[in-house]
């Protein structure tokens, strides 16, 4: 297994190198000029040209790419063209909100969706099953921002229970931190809940139809033991795959949620950087994203061993 992990980590470096080259090339070709954004509306073409020269944006592709890669090799993701702040600092500022939002969403989604999926499978064809599936369809159908506005209107404006927007760091108090995450987590997690609930139900139905489950039932095991101890464990591999993909989706899908709830996360950092063509930030964030995707996939692959002893690397 150790050799497998080392191989996968090595592959991560290769993947990131390829991503780095493509991202840099794409941004080089994309229309847009940060110098024009900096100069403002009243600037002349000459002003823009001088700012561009100061920023080194008029240098050839290879010079710029080489400089960036050299910085990367020294652990330097560069400096924001606009704020003059190091990209590492800007990303570090944004990691906590995004990770907190993702984890909370994941926690809420898995805690709600897996039991719902299991119950729906166990009571297939009943009103419980139909209700869970109806919830799933609804969860898929309502856009995140619509749900977010409904939640804000209900719980923040009408009931005054939870804040409308913003994020508090964990060290500002656990309750403050948590109450700023509740509504965004529900808004972001609903689609995810629907997805996990459906996958869990489908996988469980498949497993419940297998012979060993019938044998377990014939042995007189309690329905709870059959469902959780035997069926769910064997259904866990596809569920874990979806959870893993979901984490990656959540990180990128959090952009809308972060915008609506004004949470200073990685998603908003990316969108803001794209809109103003802050190349070093875009490049840095995409590199971090790609590394995260690869590592999550690795973690998911390794987790299969926990649920299925037949899988060995």
């Amino acid at each position: 297994m150790f050799a497998y992990v080392v191989r996968r980590l090595f592959a991560t470096i290769v993947v990131m190198a390829v991503v780095a080259f493509f991202v840099f090339s794409l941004l080089y070709l994309t229309p847009g000029d940060p110098a024009a954004v900096i100069a403002g509306d009243a600037a002349t073409s000459d002003d823009i040209r001088r700012i561009r020269a100061n920023l080194g944006l008029d240098e050839p592709f290879l010079v710029r790419f080489g400089g960036w890669v050299w910085g990367l090799l020294h652990g330097d993701l560069g400096t924001s063209i606009f704020t003059n702040l190091p990209v590492t600092r800007l990303i570090a500022q944004r990691v906590e909100p995004t990770v907190a939002l993702t984890l909370c969403t994941l926690l809420v989604a898995v805690a709600v969706a897996v039991p719902l999926g299991v119950i729906a499978a166990a009571r297939v064809g009943t009103w419980i099953d139909r209700s869970v599936m109806a919830f799933s369809v609804l969860g898929f159908s309502v856009p995140v921002f619509v749900l977010a506005y409904i939640l804000i209107l209900t719980f923040s404006i009408e009931l005054d229970w939870l804040p409308v927007q913003g994020y508090r760091n964990f060290d500002e108090g656990v309750w403050e931190w948590l109450r700023h995450l509740i509504l965004p987590s529900i808004a972001l997690g609903t689609v995810y809940m629907a997805l996990i609930a459906r996958i869990t139900r489908a996988t469980m139905l498949d497993v419940l139809a297998q012979d060993y489950v019938r044998t377990a039932q014939a042995k007189g095991l309690a329905p709870h033991s059959v469902l959780v101890g035997h069926a769910l464990k064997n259904a866990a591999v596809p569920i874990m795959t979806i959870v893993g993909i979901g984490i990656a989706l959540l990180i990128s899908g959090a952009i809308v949620t972060e915008t609506v709830f004004a949470i200073p996360g990685i998603g908003r950092l990316t969108v803001d950087a794209i809109l103003r063509r802050d190349y070093p930030i875009i490049q840095g964030v995409i590199l971090i994203f790609s590394a995260t995707y690869v590592l999550i996939n690795l973690a998911v692959d390794l987790s299969y061993m926990l649920f299925d002893p037949r899988i060995r690397y």
Binding site: G32, N84, Q93, G166, G173, T259, R268, L275
Partner: protein, 529 residues
């Protein structure tokens, strides 16, 4: 099991209380003004960019030698007294006592001279002042002198320029930075200090009261008078989604929202805890800008044709949503200001005459060339104007199309001088705040300097000549007459067309008082109960 749960709950509560740091408690005991700004602050240098959000940041942390009041009068601000020689060639300025930068260093003549020098390399009015300047020199640490080669009647107006670029005073060591390079040291001598450690670009900007600041005794009026800070701390909370910003204001999570969009005005106006008000007496001006390098708008008749066709009422509704928040403005200079006039404005103001417009198009020899309007759909003011112009051009039988992108793409593409088929353009729309269009000195789209002019690059020697004549006007009457002449020529040459004057109201909660009526949201004098 139950006791375990109870212990767990107790632990969570204790952890929550223990995790409440002293700084949070301290922040709660302070008076904190939470302000939703018009945009995200990204650039800290108010000289290297004309972005209005950076200008507003500048007013927080810097001070100016002079400032303009609500009657358009220039008033001393950092300057205590000044003297102008009889021949109008020598200005001597003496700074007020007690002026200090945020690092504790006194403000010296050398700081002022270096700051004005940097400003005059970027700002159009500053450049005109520099052309007339023979030298700046320090008499002593508090007194400095400006010697001119020729009288420049707008010297004090330049030093009191209210909008971008504002001649803010910085320490000499910072002001010596290349004006085309962003500074990131925000040491100023203004009423607030910027807290860089708490700056989260895209989310939050924090300022604290500068307790060393010595305000003037006069009452505040625009950027002049006493800048008395009545809160301990100001937090700019950038909320990109306007519905969320409205909800945050309604819920009391923010105290003041600088500019609310037209569609949310009715909603917030109904809230008895919120005041929706127009505090900007000048508003902003929408405009159509042409590309003078390529057909068909390199032909004056094509530009004149649009004067007869554009209905500003449509643009008022399109931009402001409600006629109460805008009005037609047929002047090339901000309506409601001293130089505004309707001289020669009949083609734009009179009865709309599409037939006359079509006649002019025919006379121009228009051959059905494709007209590319570049649009930014993320800027409602630009997008609305683009769609209205597209509709108008089509009604005139022109082969027009909108090429939509975001604002970042538009401002890059408008710098392209190639023909539209090679990535260029024919028309773009934008808007400019009132103070930036009040006179021929600051009104940059009116310039006719060709390659050196603003995007579109019109060339018109006569317009430039008349503008130069305006600079030489020595009194109010001659200044008005010269400005009228500029406008008259502008209506002949049509460097751009104004589409509307509109206002973005502000909204603040009822616990806020002392909001200054001005074209810029100044945060001094504001009290929070």
């Amino acid at each position: 099991m139950k006791s375990t749960l109870r212990r767990l709950a107790g632990f969570v509560v204790l952890a929550a209380v223990a995790a409440l740091p002293a700084s949070v408690a301290l922040a709660q005991s302070q008076k904190v003004l939470k302000f939703i700004p018009q945009a995200d602050l990204r650039i800290l240098d108010p000289i290297s960019t004309t972005a209005y959000i950076t200008r507003n940041h500048g007013y927080m942390v810097y001070d100016t030698l002079f400032a303009m009041d609500e009657k358009f009068q220039v008033k001393p601000q950092m300057v205590d007294k000044f003297d102008v020689s009889k021949d109008q060639l020598t200005y001597t300025f003496t700074l007020r006592d007690g002026l200090k930068f945020h690092d504790g260093q006194p403000v010296r003549s050398a700081d002022c001279i270096a700051s004005i020098d940097r400003w005059s390399k970027r700002d159009a009015l500053g450049q005109k002042l520099a052309e007339a300047t023979e030298s700046w020199s320090a008499v002593d640490d508090k007194t400095f002198r400006l010697k001119l080669k020729k009288p420049f009647p707008l010297t004090l107006e330049g030093l009191a320029k209210p909008s971008s670029n504002v001649p803010f005073i910085m320490p000499e060591r910072i002001a010596k930075t290349d004006p085309f390079k962003n500074i990131d040291d925000t040491t100023g001598s203004g009423p607030f200090k910027f807290v860089k450690a708490e700056w989260v670009p895209g989310n939050k900007v924090v300022y604290v009261k500068n307790t060393d600041y010595v305000p003037r005794k006069e009452p505040p009026s625009w950027a002049s008078g006493g800048k008395v800070v009545k809160v301990d701390r100001v937090e700019w909370i950038y909320i990109p989604d306007s519905a969320t910003a409205a909800a945050a204001l309604s819920a009391g999570e923010a105290d003041w929202w600088e500019n609310l969009p037209a569609d949310l005005i009715p909603l917030l106006s109904r809230n008895k805890n919120i005041t929706v008000k127009n505090i900007d007496p000048m508003g902003s001006m929408g405009m159509i800008r042409f590309n003078f390098l390529h057909p068909p708008f390199n032909n004056v008749k094509m530009r004149q044709a649009l004067l007869y066709a554009i209905n500003q009422q449509d643009y008022v509704i399109g931009i402001a949503g409600d006629p109460k928040n805008g009005n037609p403005c047929y002047s090339y200079f901000t309506c409601g200001t001293p130089l505004a006039s309707e001289v020669a404005a009949d083609p734009l103001k009179g009865k709309r005459d599409l037939e006359k417009a079509k006649q002019l198009i025919k006379e121009s020899g228009y051959k059905g060339e494709r007209i590319v309007i570049i649009d930014a759909t993320d800027q409602p003011m630009v997008h609305a104007q683009s769609l209205l112009t597209l509709d108008l051009l089509k009604r005139l039988g022109l082969n027009a199309e909108v090429q939509a992108g975001d604002w970042g793409t538009l401002i890059t593409r408008r710098a392209v001088r190639e023909p539209p088929e090679k990535g260029g353009w024919n028309i773009f729309h934008t808007w400019i705040v009132g103070p930036d269009m009040v006179n021929p000195a600051v009104n940059f789209p009116i310039r006719g300097t060709g390659d050196k002019a603003w995007f579109g690059w019109p060339t018109d020697a006569k317009l430039e000549e008349l503008r130069e004549a305006w600079f030489n006007a020595t009194d109010q009457a001659s200044s008005k007459k010269a400005a009228d002449a500029v406008q008259e020529r502008a209506y002949e040459f049509v460097p751009f067309i104004t589409t509307a004057q509109f206002i973005l109201p502000t909204a603040y909660r009822s616990n806020i008082s002392g909001v200054i009526i001005a074209p810029i949201a100044f945060l001094w004098n504001v009290e929070k109960k």
